[in-house]
Symmetry: C2
Subunit: 469 residues, 2 copies
Amino acid sequence: MPQAMDLPRNEEGIATALGILKQQFGDRFHTGQAMRDQHAHTTTWIRAQAPDAVVFPASTKEVSGIVKVCATHEVPVIPFGTGTSLEGHVNAPAGGISVDLTQMDKILAVNAEDLDCVVQPGVTREQLNTYLRDRGLFFPIDPGANASLGGMASTRASGTNAVRYGTMKDNVLSLEAVMADGRIIRTAQRAKKTSAGYDMTRLLIGSEGTLGLITEITLKLQGIPEAISAARMSFPSIDAACQAVMTTIQYGIPVARIELMDELNVRAANAYAGLDLPETPLLLLEFHGSDSAVIEQAEMFGSIAEDVGGTDFAATATAEERNKLWKARHDLYWATLQLRPGAQGISTDVCVPISRLAEAVTGAQAKAAELDLLAPIVGHVGDGNFHSLVLIDMDNDDEVRRAEEFTAYLADEAIRMDGTCTGEHGIGQGKMPYLIKELGPTVEYMAAIKTALDPLNIMNPGKIFGPRR
Amino acid sequence: MPQAMDLPRNEEGIATALGILKQQFGDRFHTGQAMRDQHAHTTTWIRAQAPDAVVFPASTKEVSGIVKVCATHEVPVIPFGTGTSLEGHVNAPAGGISVDLTQMDKILAVNAEDLDCVVQPGVTREQLNTYLRDRGLFFPIDPGANASLGGMASTRASGTNAVRYGTMKDNVLSLEAVMADGRIIRTAQRAKKTSAGYDMTRLLIGSEGTLGLITEITLKLQGIPEAISAARMSFPSIDAACQAVMTTIQYGIPVARIELMDELNVRAANAYAGLDLPETPLLLLEFHGSDSAVIEQAEMFGSIAEDVGGTDFAATATAEERNKLWKARHDLYWATLQLRPGAQGISTDVCVPISRLAEAVTGAQAKAAELDLLAPIVGHVGDGNFHSLVLIDMDNDDEVRRAEEFTAYLADEAIRMDGTCTGEHGIGQGKMPYLIKELGPTVEYMAAIKTALDPLNIMNPGKIFGPRR
């Protein structure tokens, strides 16, 4: 499998660090095989590379202590949230210590007047939103999985709500992080705007643990909208659906979600949930606003979509019907896996300028057909981001090769269209060659920053830049 | 005056670079005193420090050539847009070459379907919006001055529309830049989202020319809203006005602008424009949306504001009346200078969490009174950002000292309130000690990045980090 090369291990340093951390952390320190394997397991096709130990710190100070031990003995530090990343981010190609942050799961402050909150990195998205609900607030970023907010920041996650609310880069005010020398920094104050020096907040967001370990996050919050409505519409073609998306965005209709499901996905959803949606491309939408605004927005969308051949428009403002409509979307991963029981699902993640979306999606469908792969497509199409879930038998070498050819094709095509090989999953181990294809010499300046801030290369080594950086 | 220390000059290198660039650029190369002085002049109280020469490149390739010459001979490179920065950003404390980008003023592409455009750095905000108007699009960031977009990106500018549309960090998709070694990079593709490696776009935005020279900018655009309405309301106190702002933001009313003018500013506006606004704190608002939405939003604001004692509500959806209402705000700089003809206006720029805004503004008013300074306040209060324009006689040493005490007080107070010494103007030469107060050891990691990307310290030296970094 690609990009999971083992890197040279510092056996002596690892042994020493293990001894020290075992002493310090007692029963919060683990070297059992099951625990180690669990911390290398990710929802990816990349081969697992287990760490040498897993430690569960309970405070920033403890994280700082761990990193200091690892810096002294030149041992890799791999942060771990919920393990839902998709590109081998939690693998330990050179061994080292997995720092599991699930015990740092406190919501430290909710500043309702300022629409922000401060959380530890192990707090999950759903945990936060459950906590906030009674206060009339919510955190909008929804990558699908119930990921930890530290992990979401580390990979610059986004998901279905990004078309309206942006990505993690747009929803973090400040970070506390432990740097490679073990020192603790805060990237910014809690003010909504700042021009105070380099944007260290945005530098750490998406750095995948390679520059520092995030130990606290100050997040922007949103008021729960007065009204939420949902709508769906079927289209005769991907082209028509994409045209409807483009026009909707151009008209400035503030859709909160606008998701594309291709024919295959609709078929999977019908089978999985017993629905009878027309088995043609489908757009699923959500609108947030005042009672009158959400009705107006749904109507405007309906009218735009009808003009390009949309049919079977259905809209609802009741929570029950809306949840039913969106459940099909949320269950899609499981539904599509049922298209080929026992297969491994490999998610691609390209993002292109929206004007190229139809071309990119139909190109992906054609390529999958050419390679005889089952690869249903779902997309956060308001942002030009879509995922093929390639369903393959990992024991069939030829299928694996074809899946690799398919993912390479998608990345190359996205780059050719002025898009990116990764809209929201990150580079990790899986996308390293595409990053270089995409940004060329820019990657050398990224690597110079990595070297400047982590000269020993102990922070999640072997990610983003590859073995030798 | 503070923070305008001269730095050691590399006389030999400067002389050599001047000779080479004169040869290469002919009549686009200037060493005349008037031209040099003009390029050190900024709307600031910081003493001017002229460059040794000014050069007008016409292309990225020419910029790259200039930087390569300067790198070879270790000569400072100071980018220049329109000279409207406020913290000594265009000063040349160690001499060097001012790179005037006004001839790089082409709008290279408008991708209406993708709501983005590509511009050279010398394009100004007004030039772009004039060009876009017929296409039904606009670029929302409005820092007041008709600044160049390259300069706005360099200082992470924002202004009156930021409460709705964000700052430059939120409205740039990608940058082309010439790095300190003269190489040209592109920070990202044109896709709306990306998780492809470190966020070099956001790292360069706000780096004030210290890491690279921005030569091309891909900007997000907005559709011109169907309707724009404006409103104003007077308040018995700063507290009441701030309470109205907080509730408006909490309710999620998507105000496009919400500006506070204190009593002194209203008096200045009345005198300057012949208005008869009540001389109490005033909020001035703008709403963007559909015809029905802007009316609904103005009404909701009016009702919120009335609850906290707001009076004299006036709203309008006609362009003529709206422009009249906003002209008073736009002319405020000139109007307030008339409060003390001949005085120099010194703008402060703190930004605090919105829950601390009333305390920060009234504290500033009290401190100005205590120091016997005339310092009217205007604020982008939806973001917690406000400016005192301190009106002083620069020949009166005691007044200058008191103004320094005032600006120091404001920065310290903002930092104490978890806010920042600069919401949108940047650090430049003027705010260096406050940056360290604000972010402490974080500044050392910023400096490490600076050293890694510009080891010779030729890119706008003496800014952000001070003489020795």
